[in-house]
Structures are given as structure tokens and as C-alpha cells.
């Protein structure tokens, strides 16, 4: 426990407030956690500052102790609870949960949707968040949605087609399902493939099968490793030739 005492006395000497005791990592003896209650001064800056915490962490590292500070800002937690209550009250039909991540004086609001929300509702949520955060001296950095939809995007299309080309629509659909994506309908898939073809990202062969264009191959690039897409492609070809 000598090291714990050293940590506490160093923190005390440096004027860093500590809550509770030094918690040693049960899996790694040189690593420990210290809870630091942080507050805001009149200018809204964090006390103790990240700079002073960083410096003390360096001092402790020189003494052979790797300390992780866990900052607890009761004020931030209250703000998060406030934003959550405000948004869930106003958009209870659309939102399942709301949480906040605060850095310096700006905040990122994360919302978990119950159903897909349109741009106007998203804008209204951002506006309401901005008003609330302004009242507590913060600005809204961004409003982010956690993701529920699971449709393949353009890159996913190109990756899949590169691997299994030449591939017809049925094989592409199966490849997506294997990769854990949803495919709403054949018509949806057809329209997506058509758009990619018009953008010259893929080519439709006379057989009705699709391959990626030379430009796409260049854009996607490759890696020299066991998980190289070229290796996957070779394996997929070998499987086809069986």
C-alpha cells in the first residue's frame, strides 16, 4: 500500500482534491484509479484543470505509478439529467434515451431513436438542446443519433461486389444478408445497383452480372496482410470454381 499512500500525499501536495481512496487495478498492480471531484470556477473553467492533472499524472509516472484520474463533475451530470428530461418530455414518442458528452464548453447530445426521425424533428431537437445548453453556459457541438438502421451503404456495396464479382443480383443480396445487412426489397437493390452503374462505380456485364469498375478498384485500394481483400477475393473465386 506504500504506493497508494505516495499517490495520496503527492496529490495532496499538488492541491488536487481526492474522493475516497486510491483504487488499485485488480488486474495490473502498477495501475490505479483516483476519483477527483471537479468543479467550475466563475469563468466556467474546470478546477482542477486538465493541465494540472496531466502534470501530476506525469509526476506520479516518474515515481513508477500509472494513475488514471476519474473526474466526477456533479454539475455535468445534472446538466445531462436536465437535457434528458427536457427532450424526453418533448419527444417521448420519438426518443428512447438521451445522453451527453461535455468537453470544455461544448456538448455533444446523443439521442437514441424509437423510430426514424425526419430532418425537421431532428432540427427541433437540436434547437431545444441549444436553448437548454445555453442556459447552463454550454454550446451544442453536434446532435448525434445512435444507429438502428442496417442498410448497406455505397462502400459496403463496392466491397461486396469486389469480393464476389462477377455477381448477379441474387448473389449480391445473399452476400449482404451474410454480412448482417438488411435488404428491404429486390426493387430497392436494383435501384441502388443502377445508381452505382450510372456513377460508373460498377459495370453491368451482358450476362446481367455486376463487377466493380477499374476506377473503383483503384479507390478501394488494398492491404498487404492475411485479411487483404485480394485474399478474400481469391478465396471467393476458388469457392465459385468448386
Amino acid at each position: 500500500m506504500t504506493k497508494s499512500v505516495d499517490v495520496l500525499s503527492t496529490l495532496q501536495r499538488e492541491g488536487i482534491p481526492v474522493s475516497g481512496t486510491v483504487i488499485r487495478d485488480s488486474g495490473n498492480g502498477d495501475h490505479c484509479f483516483v476519483y477527483i471531484p471537479v468543479e467550475r470556477n466563475a469563468e466556467g473553467h474546470q478546477v482542477p484543470s486538465n493541465r494540472s492533472l496531466h502534470r501530476v499524472r506525469g509526476l506520479l509516472k516518474e515515481q513508477g505509478v500509472n494513475v488514471e484520474f476519474i473526474l466526477s463533475d456533479a454539475h455535468s451530470q445534472d446538466i445531462e439529467a436536465g437535457v434528458r428530461a427536457t427532450l424526453l418530455h418533448a419527444y417521448g414518442e420519438e426518443l428512447r434515451n438521451v445522453f451527453l458528452s461535455i468537453k470544455n464548453k461544448s456538448a455533444v447530445v446523443w439521442v437514441e431513436q424509437k423510430k426514424t426521425i425526419d430532418a425537421s424533428v431532428r432540427g427541433a431537437i437540436a434547437k431545444k438542446s441549444t436553448v437548454f445548453l445555453h442556459e447552463v453556459g454550454l454550446t451544442l457541438d453536434s446532435l448525434l443519433l445512435t444507429v438502428d438502421e442496417n442498410l448497406p451503404g455505397k462502400l459496403a456495396f463496392l466491397n461486396a461486389i469486389r469480393q464476389i464479382a462477377p455477381a448477379d443480383m441474387k448473389s449480391i443480396k445473399n452476400e449482404f444478408l451474410t454480412r448482417g445487412f438488411s435488404v428491404p426489397s429486390d426493387d430497392w437493390l436494383n435501384r441502388k445497383l443502377d445508381a452505382l452503374r450510372k456513377a460508373e462505380a460498377i459495370v453491368r456485364l451482358a450476362t446481367g452480372q455486376y463487377v466493380v469498375s477499374a476506377r473503383t478498384l483503384d479507390v478501394l485500394g488494398t492491404v498487404r496482410a492475411g485479411r487483404s481483400p485480394d485474399v478474400s477475393r481469391l478465396l471467393a473465386l476458388a469457392q465459385k470454381c468448386r
Binding site: 487495478d25 448525434l144 444507429v147 455505397k154 462502400l155
Partner: protein
């Protein structure tokens, strides 16, 4: 496991015996952490089998190391392919990684305190939102819920960029 944590939280809040409520309270923190850890471990294992064997203390570094690196690379590829939706999703996932890593560090430290530091007593000043060190039980109850939302975002981005 969350349901067990919730039950323990309820028991701790209403027990009159000081020793017993402390025991139930610290077990509630432990279970909330484990519920979160198991979800994270499962998703990491689905991204790459060997990542599913990650130890508790290694989770934050794993997230901010190889998982983030892969998604940053994926974002660059998506941008090169003019897939800006996927690039935006990767940015959200990277943001999610940082929040999740920080939360897992807090959770792990709280669980170690709950399990191995009986001398750090639970503060029951607010019996329905008691605290261990500075962590309130209602915040701990949010860990699994938040983690699932963040993991969904990370998983969705991974699936889009993974070859």
C-alpha cells in the same frame, strides 16, 4: 444481469441495516458494470474473434486503439469512394468509442472499489441515488443502456467499412 442489478439497487435503497445495505449497494454497482462489460465484450468479439477475449482493464485501450484505428481507416476509404454517409457514420462511431472507453474506465474502477475496497463505504445520503466514491447508482444504471446505443453505432459503422 441488469435486472439483478436493479433489484439489488432497490433492496439497498430500502434496507435499514447499515451493513446489509452497503453490501447490496456495492453488489448493484458490480452487476451494472458486468452487464455493460458483457455487452461490450460480445460486440468486440463479433468484430474480431480474438477481441472477445479482452480483459476488463484492457477494454478502453482496445477501443481507442485497434477499433478506432480500423474505423478511421474505414472513414478514409469511404471518403475516397464518395460515400459521405458512411464517412459520417464512422465519425459518429469514433465519437462513440471515446465515450464508451471513458465509461468503461469509470465502470471498471467502480467495480474494483465495490469488490475489493470494503473500507470505501457507500454514501446513502440520498438513499434512492446512493454513491460509491463519486459515482451515483442512477448513473451506473445508465451504463448498459448507453453502452448498447454506442455499440450499435460502432457495429453499424464497422459493418459498412469492413471488407
Amino acid at each position: 444481469m441488469e435486472i439483478v442489478a436493479h433489484h439489488l439497487q432497490g433492496v439497498a435503497s430500502t434496507r435499514s441495516d447499515l451493513i446489509e445495505r452497503d453490501l447490496f449497494g456495492r453488489s448493484a454497482f458490480n452487476r451494472y458494470y458486468y452487464a455493460t462489460y458483457l455487452d461490450v465484450k460480445e460486440v468486440l468479439g463479433s468484430l474480431k474473434a480474438e477481441w472477445g477475449k479482452i480483459s476488463h482493464g484492457g477494454v478502453p485501450d482496445m477501443l481507442t486503439g485497434p477499433v478506432k484505428k480500423a474505423l478511421v481507416k474505414g472513414r478514409e476509404r469511404a471518403q475516397r469512394a464518395s460515400d459521405f454517409e458512411t464517412a459520417d457514420l464512422c465519425s459518429r462511431a469514433v465519437n462513440a468509442i471515446h465515450i464508451l472507453a471513458e465509461m468503461m474506465t469509470d465502470g471498471y474502477a467502480t467495480r474494483v472499489a465495490a469488490d475489493y475496497y470494503p473500507e470505501v463505504k457507500i454514501d446513502f445520503e440520498d438513499a434512492y441515488n446512493f454513491k460509491l466514491n463519486l459515482v451515483r447508482v442512477k448513473d451506473a444504471a445508465e451504463w448498459p443502456i448507453k453502452a448498447r446505443g454506442l455499440l450499435r453505432t460502432i457495429n453499424a459503422a464497422w459493418r459498412q467499412v469492413h471488407d
